[in-house]
Symmetry: C2
Subunit: 228 residues, 2 copies
DNA sequence: AAGGATGCTATACACACGTATAGTCGCCCG
DNA sequence: CGGGCGACTATACGTGTGTATAGCATCCTT
C-alpha cells in the first residue's frame, strides 16, 4: 500500500540509508556510529563509505531522500481540493511517522534546511487562504515560518511532550490526545485580540525608542515588514 | 543591574560553568569538548573534572543553574499583578537570552527535563486564567505542555527561523519581527472553529474505529521502519 | 610554624570512531 | 572465454576525546 519508496530499493544502499535514518533519529548525528548503522543494515562498515563517501555524505543522502518524500506528499495534499477531508493529511502523517524523529533531530541540529523550507511552502499556502478579520502585521512568509517551527516543536521535544501528556506521544493514545490538543490550540487564540493590540502597541513604542531614526543595520534580503 | 548570578561567582568553577553553557549551546553536548570549555574558562582541562566530576556532571550543573535562574524569573513574573505590563517578561527574555541556545540544545537532546517542566508550570498558570467561549477538549496540563513546546520551537530552530525571517533572529530587527509575528499568531486561530469541530468529530470517529475497546499497544523498542 | 586540605596543572592512558587501503567475489559486456 | 568493473569485506591507521593519576602551590587551621 504505502509503497512510497523508490523502485530500486531493497538494495544494500537503501538498507543503509534506512538504518541511518533510524540511527540518526534515535541517537542524533554525533552519537550515531557508522559501525552501528552498518550492523543494522547487515553490511560491513566499509560499504557505508563505499556508497556514501562519508558520514556527512550519508546524512545528506538521508536529507535528500526525505525532501523528495515530503515533496511527493505535499503535492498530493495540494492536489486534494476538498480541504475538509483530512485523509491525505492523515495518510501523510502516518507514512512520515517513522521518519519524524530523524526530521526532528536533523532540524534541531540546524541541518535539513530544504526539508524545513519545503514544509514552510506548504504552510504558506495553508495560511494564504485563511480568512481573518484584521490584516496581518507581518509578512505571510514570516508567519508561515514560525507556524512551521511551532508545528515541528512537538516531535522535536518528544520526550518532554510525552512526559507532559502522561503517555508516549507515538502510542495510539498519545497520538489521539495530541491531535485533539493541537486542534484545540490551533482553533483558539492564546492571547485575546484586545490584549494583543495593547502588547503590539507597547512593542512598537519601545522599538521606536530603541531605533530612533534612520536605521540601516543588517541589510536583510527584503526588509518588507508590512505585508505580502 | 543584571547581577542575577550567585554571589560566589567569578570563581573558576563559575567561569567553567559559563563556558560550558556557551559551548554546549553553540556546538551541542557531543561536539563540545572539555578542552575547549577549559580554554574558554582559562583553566586546565583537569580542573573541569576536578569540579564537576565528568562531562555529564558538568551538564547537570548547567541544568541546575538554569533551573534556579528560570525559577527566580518565574517567581517575579508571577508576582507581577498587572498582566498588561510586559516589563518583567521583557526583562526575563533579555536576561535569559544568552542561555537560550543552551536551553534549546539541551531540550532538543531530551535533557533538562525539570527546566521544561518549570516552564510548563508557568504556562499552565497563564492558560488557566484565559477566557474562552467553549470548554477545552483536553486537560490543562496537556495544553500547557504543547503550548510550551511550541514556544520553545523558535529558539530551537534558530537557523531555520532566521532563514525564513530573512534576518538573524537574535538581532534587534529579528527580535522585533519575531515578537510581532508571535503576537499575531498567538492572537489568531490557525483553524476556524467550525473547521476544528468537523476535524475533531472526524478524529474521534476514526479513533473509535481504530481502538474498539481497551488498547494498550505494545511499544516496541525498535519500530520497523521499512514499510507499513 | 607544621600539616593538611584545596584549587589547579601536566601528563598519560584507553578507547571509540571516522577514514583509508587492499583485497575478494560475482556479474555483465565484448 | 575473459577481462574489467562494481559491490562488498577485512583490517589497519590516526586522531580526538573523556578520564585517571600524580604532583605542585597556596592558604587556612591549630
Amino acid at each position: 500500500m504505502t509503497t512510497e519508496r523508490d523502485p530500486e530499493d531493497l538494495t544494500a544502499r537503501a538498507r543503509i540509508r534506512d538504518a541511518a535514518l533510524f540511527h540518526f533519529g534515535e541517537h542524533g548525528f554525533e552519537r550515531a556510529t557508522i559501525r552501528g548503522i552498518a550492523e543494522t543494515a547487515g553490511v560491513s562498515p566499509g560499504l557505508v563509505r563505499h556508497h556514501f563517501g562519508s558520514k556527512q555524505g550519508l546524512r545528506e543522502a538521508c536529507d535528500e531522500y526525505l525532501v523528495a518524500l515530503v515533496h511527493r506528499f505535499n503535492d498530493r495534499v495540494r492536489a486534494d481540493t476538498s480541504h475538509t477531508d483530512m485523509s491525505y493529511i492523515q495518510q501523510s502523517r502516518a507514512a512520515l511517522r517513522p521518519y519524524q524523529r530523524y526530521m526532528a533531530r536533523a532540524l534541531s541540529e540546524g541541518a535539513a534546511a530544504s526539508l524545513f523550507d519545503e514544509v514552510v511552502n506548504l504552510t504558506e499556502e495553508w495560511l494564504a487562504d485563511l480568512k481573518r478579520p484584521d490584516p496581518p502585521v507581518v509578512p505571510l512568509r514570516v508567519r508561515a515560518t514560525i507556524a512551521t517551527a511551532m508545528a515541528m516543536a512537538v516531535p522535536i521535544l518528544y520526550e518532554h511532550v510525552s512526559r507532559g501528556l502522561g503517555v508516549d506521544m507515538f502510542s495510539p493514545e498519545g497520538d489521539l490526545l495530541l491531535s485533539r490538543a493541537l486542534l484545540d490550540i490551533y482553533s483558539h487564540p492564546l492571547i485575546s485580540p484586545e490584549e494583543a493590540a495593547v502588547l503590539l502597541d507597547a512593542l512598537d513604542r519601545t522599538a521606536h525608542r530603541a531605533t530612533p531614526a534612520g536605521r540601516e543595520a543588517a541589510p536583510g534580503p527584503d526588509e518588507e515588514l508590512h505585508d505580502e
